[in-house]
Symmetry: C2
Subunit: 308 residues, 2 copies
């Protein structure tokens, strides 16, 4: 195998109560990447379609993560990377993470899979760090493992793959506005109230239990964020209206995807998911902000091979 | 059935990472209570053996919780309560909770079980509030439900019964010292660092996953408390030494039971539990502090009927 084409899906980090630790994987939106093994050593970005991103290997997240793996594996070959970007950078559904994870997943395949999923996530974090300024894995883990994941530690990296109820769908709305990462970080307090933290960890615990027991009611009751959402939702226009309208339409829960501006919901069944998508559209259609929506089953496979 | 004798077990609240929400139930230490249905209406404490506790119905936790149930059920009878106290008040293994839960469990049996476990816990919280100054259920829930429990909410009360790995044992050491509740509360900060809270909720999530998957290694790695233990452990002499020695002896984790002074460990298998008990004894035998130790399988049944 000298060439591989993969689909690297978008992902939702935080999942309301699980700031910095929880995430899940989408299916209907993602990047495609073609990686070719070359005699010439090194890592090169040879094509980027769909976004204005750097070609320099040490500046593009896909090549930075690839280089981390490459410098560890020291193979007697090189790799050309073509990126077909569908996930808009800055959308809050793991655009940089999809690039960082996709390249290492594909190169690992071309090398005969010397690395496991946690090791791949560790390499991908090096790329993610270029985009976000710090190494975190809450978007990387669901892309590489699929389904729901919990990042227990980052140093050393430890990822817990959680089960996914079979009839669970996500609906995303991406308002086409820019929120600077620096802004969405600066708005978070460094200190929080102990009583709010207790509420949050009770919710994380019950959310994990709900995933294990297919308990949609408990899942719904656990999708609450008393720490981050009250701050960051201020940066997303019509967040409150989208939340109200989607919950009314039957969503199990609605929250900020990553650091926004995308908003996610989780829904039981495709019919509810379609209604919830309409409920989101109803809010944003009345504004002058462009937007896109996506309905997706939770992707339990993660990154997948399209052609090899 | 006009009389019932029950065993109301000791419990461990907090379980390192789950301050105020997690708890589990012990088996080899607990109170006994005999409750008798009477023609005379009302609730009376008729005997207390083993501790110096009030007989006035509105001052004893067992009768306060019983009265909460009684005033709700309005039965055409009354109840006499005899308490045989084995769990020392102030030990940190749910002494007041065992009294508060035991009486409502027993009366519910004598009335033909009109209330479910959550409703019983709600009544028991009224008794617990007399002892601790506020309504909480982190000791009550494991006593009434058995096994591991997560208190998701207190208002309204919502309890999640978690699974228990089959070969899990607890070892407790109770140093015979007094820590005032007011002191153990005052030492806690009202504000905590967000980054520590994130560590804590990652641990709660992975602990719940570990219980579901019988993953003892992950359970061990999740038994960490970066929020409360650094403060409260200062009030418990030789806490650090007990922790070091028990972990060396093979304990999965060691932490403060409730607000102390008891220290708990969780262990895989009875052999390790016995070694860990010895490791605790080794530390405290060298001090001039009296102590008791208990080895117990995790009690998945909770309060149980001895005679009826």
């Amino acid at each position: 195998m000298n060439q591989i084409k993969i689909f690297s899906p978008a992902t939702v980090a935080n999942v309301s109560c699980g700031f910095d630790v929880l995430g899940f994987c989408l299916d209907t939106i993602g990047d495609e990447m073609t990686i070719t093994k070359t005699e010439e050593k090194g890592i090169r970005i040879t094509k980027i379609i769909g976004a204005d991103l750097p070609f320099e290997a040490e500046k593009n997240v896909a090549s930075v993560s690839a280089l981390a793996l490459y410098n560890h594996a020291k193979p007697n070959c090189g790799f050309d990377i073509e990126i077909y970007k569908n996930i808009k950078p800055g959308s809050g559904i793991g655009s940089s993470s999809a690039s960082a994870s996709g390249s290492v997943f594909a190169i690992n395949q071309l090398l005969g899979q010397p690395y496991n999923q946690t090791e791949l996530s560790d390499f991908a974090m090096k790329g993610e760090a270029i985009a976000s300024g710090c190494e975190h894995a809450d978007n990387i883990a669901p892309g590489i493992f699929g389904g729901f994941t919990l990042v227990k530690n980052t140093k050393p990296l430890q990822i817990v793959a959680l089960p996914t109820p079979s009839n669970l769908y996500a609906v995303i709305i991406h308002p086409q506005i820019e929120i600077k990462t620096s802004q969405s970080r600066a708005i978070l307090p460094k200190q929080i109230q102990l009583k709010n933290a207790i509420t949050q960890w009770a919710n994380v615990g019950s959310l994990v239990h709900a995933l294990h027991t297919n308990d949609y009611k408990l899942l719904s009751e656990s999708l609450n964020d008393v720490i981050v959402e009250p701050h960051r939702s201020q940066l997303i226009p019509y967040f409150k209206e989208v939340k109200e309208n989607t919950l009314k339409a039957g969503a199990l829960g609605t929250g900020i995807s990553g650091s926004g501006p995308s908003i996610f919901t989780l829904c039981k069944g495709i019919e509810t998911a379609n209604k919830v998508e309409q409920a989101m559209k109803d809010v944003y259609s009345k504004t002058n902000i462009s937007f896109k929506t996506y309905v997706s089953k939770i992707n339990t496979e993660g990154i997948r091979i399209i052609e090899s």
